[in-house]
Homo-oligomer: 299 residues x 2
C-alpha cells in the first residue's frame, strides 16, 4: 500500500521552485506509475514540488537538514526522521524507521547510523543543494531578511495523502524546513499530528506552511477532529486553517482525504501547488480557486 | 508564570527509581518554594520522579539522551529539545528554545550548540548516570529482554501541569525515554500534542508511558479535545487512556488540569507517582485509587 509513496519519491524529479508555476507541478508519468503499480488506489494527492531531498532549503549554515514522516492509517504506525543529513530520500528512511524499528522517530546522527545499518547510501551535501536554494539562503542572511515571510507560498515541503478502494489511508510529508533555520531545528513535519496524521477511521491530512505555527495548533490532528464531528473534508480543512490564522497568525495549506475518497487541497497562503488523481482524472492547481483537470488515460 | 517549572526543576532532587514507593515522591519544600515564589499559583501537578537529567534511562549504547517540552497555554508557544546529551536540565533548555529562538524544537548536536550559545554548562555523561540506571540497562541488553514491558509503571518521565488564579496554564515534560532505545530515538515527550499540550481555553495535559503508543493517538491533544466537548478532566483523561489501550494496546498515565483548577492524575499502567498541590493541601498517590493528603502549611 505504501508503495505509492515510495514510487512517487523514487520516480519523481525535483524541479526548482521557479518551475512551480508550470502546471502540473510533477510528471504525469508518476501518476501513471502509481496507478499501474497500485491498481486499487483511487486517490493520491501531492503538493509542492521538492520530491527528493535535492532542492531543499538550507539552514543558517548553508546545509540541508531534512525532516520526514509517514503514517499508516490502519495500524496508526508511523515513522519519522528529523534533522537528517546526506540522505537523498528522507521519506524512504522514515518508512524504514516504521518498518524496521520499534520506534517512531530517529533524529540527526542516530538516523544516519540507522540509514547506514539498513544500507541507504549517503549522498554529499553538494548533491542536495541547488543554485536556487543557495541564492535564497544568501538573500536571507541579510540582517533585515524575513525568512518566514520569504518562504510563504514557496514551501519546500512535499506531502501526500492516499486512500485505496478498501479504505486504507496513509500520509507522507517531507521537507527541508524553513529557510535559514538554526542547526538542529525540527519543524512540524516529523511531528505526528502536526505535519501529518492518518487514521482509517477518519481520514488523513498532510500539512505545509510555517511549521512553528502548525505545531501550535497540531493542525493535521485538529482537522481530523473536525471531520470526526461530521465536517466534510473541505470544511474541516478550512476551519483548521482559519483557526491557525486567527489564533496564532499562521499561514499554510493541507491536503486531506476521507475513507470514502472525498478529498481537498486547501490553503490560506498565497499559493500551493497541488494535484489529485481520482479514477481517470488528474486535477491540479496553484492559486486559490484554480482547478484544472485532464484525463489520466495513458497517451 | 513559568518560573514554577524552573523552580521545580532546579530545586528538585533526583531520587532513584527505587524511592518511588516512598511517598510523597518529592520534597515538600519544592511545593513550598513554588508557592512562595508564585503566589498566584493554585495548582501544580508533578508525576514521576526524575526531575533533572540525572537518573535517566540509558540508550542501547549506555548513554543518556533526553527529550523535553514546555508549552505556554496563553500564546500556544512551546519549546522542545530532543535527543540532547550532556545537559543537566533539559526542561530549562526547552524553555530557552521557546524564549530565545523563533523555533519550537532543536535536536541533538544543534540543541547542544544552542545550549553553549546561551551559556548552559555541559555536564559529563557519567554525572547523569546512576547505578540503578546502569543495572537496568545491562539487564535489558539480554536477547530475551522486553524493555517496554520492563519499563511500564517505572517511567523515567517527569511531567507537570499548572494553572494560576488568572487561568494561565502551562505544561512541562522531561524524559530519558525508553530503556535501551536506539541512538537518536525521539519519543512522545518533545512532540507537541503527544508528550504534552497546554491551552488556556481548554486545559493542559502532560503524559508518560510507552512513547510510541502515545504518539499514535496524540494522547495529550486527544484528551483536550474530549474536554472541549464538555468532558471533565478525569473523564476525558480516562477516555483518552482507554482509547490508547483499546486501539494500539498502549499503557500510560497523564496529569491534567482545566482553567478552573479542576485536576486529575490518571493512569492505566501499574503505578504512577503523582502529587498535586491546591490551596493549602498536598495530595499524592502511587497505585490506582490511592489518594493521600496533607497540609501544605509551612511546618
Amino acid at each position: 500500500f505504501f508503495f505509492s509513496l515510495r514510487c512517487k519519491a523514487e520516480g519523481g524529479h525535483a524541479p526548482s521552485q521557479r518551475h512551480v508555476a508550470l502546471l502540473p507541478p510533477f510528471p504525469l508519468r508518476d501518476f501513471l506509475c502509481l496507478r499501474s503499480q497500485v491498481p486499487k488506489m483511487t486517490t493520491i494527492y501531492v503538493f509542492s514540488n521538492v520530491v527528493s531531498g535535492r532542492g531543499s532549503v538550507l539552514n543558517v549554515k548553508g546545509d540541508v537538514e531534512m525532516d520526514a514522516l509517514v503514517m499508516d492509517g490502519k495500524t496508526l504506525a508511523s515513522g519519522a526522521v528529523s534533522a537528517v543529513r546526506n540522505i537523498a530520500n528522507p521519506v524512504q528512511l522514515a518508512r524504514l524507521v516504521m518498518d524496521k524499528t520499534s520506534h517512531a522517530c530517529l533524529t540527526a546522527e542516530g538516523a544516519s547510523k540507522f540509514a547506514r545499518a539498513v544500507g541507504i547510501p549517503e549522498v554529499s551535501q553538494e548533491s542536495l543543494i541547488t543554485e536556487y536554494a543557495r541564492m535564497r539562503w544568501t538573500k536571507n542572511l541579510a540582517p533585515d531578511a524575513n525568512p518566514v515571510e520569504s518562504q510563504m507560498g514557496k514551501m519546500g515541503t512535499v506531502g501526500a495523502v492516499a486512500v485505496d478502494r478498501e479504505g486504507n489511508i496513509a500520509c507522507a510529508t517531507s521537507t527541508g524546513g524553513m529557510l535559514n533555520k538554526m542547526e538542529g531545528r525540527v519543524g512540524d513535519t516529523p511531528c505526528i499530528g502536526s505535519g501529518g496524521y492518518a487514521d482509517n477511521q477518519t481520514g488523513a491530512v498532510s500539512t505545509t506552511g510555517h511549521g512553528e505555527a502548525i505545531m501550535k495548533v497540531t493542525l493535521a490532528r485538529l482537522i481530523l477532529f473536525h471531520m470526526e464531528q461530521g465536517q466534510t473534508v473541505e470544511a474541516a480543512s478550512d476551519v483548521g486553517l482559519a483557526y491557525m490564522k486567527s489564533r496564532v497568525g499562521g499561514l499554510g495549506g493541507v491536503v486531506t482525504v476521507d475513507p470514502q475518497g472525498g478529498w481537498g487541497a486547501r490553503f490560506n497562503s498565497l499559493q500551493m501547488a497541488w494535484a489529485a488523481a481520482q479514477d481517470d482524472r488528474l486535477h491540479y492547481g496553484l492559486y486559490a480557486g484554480e482547478r484544472f483537470s485532464e484525463s489520466l488515460q495513458t497517451p
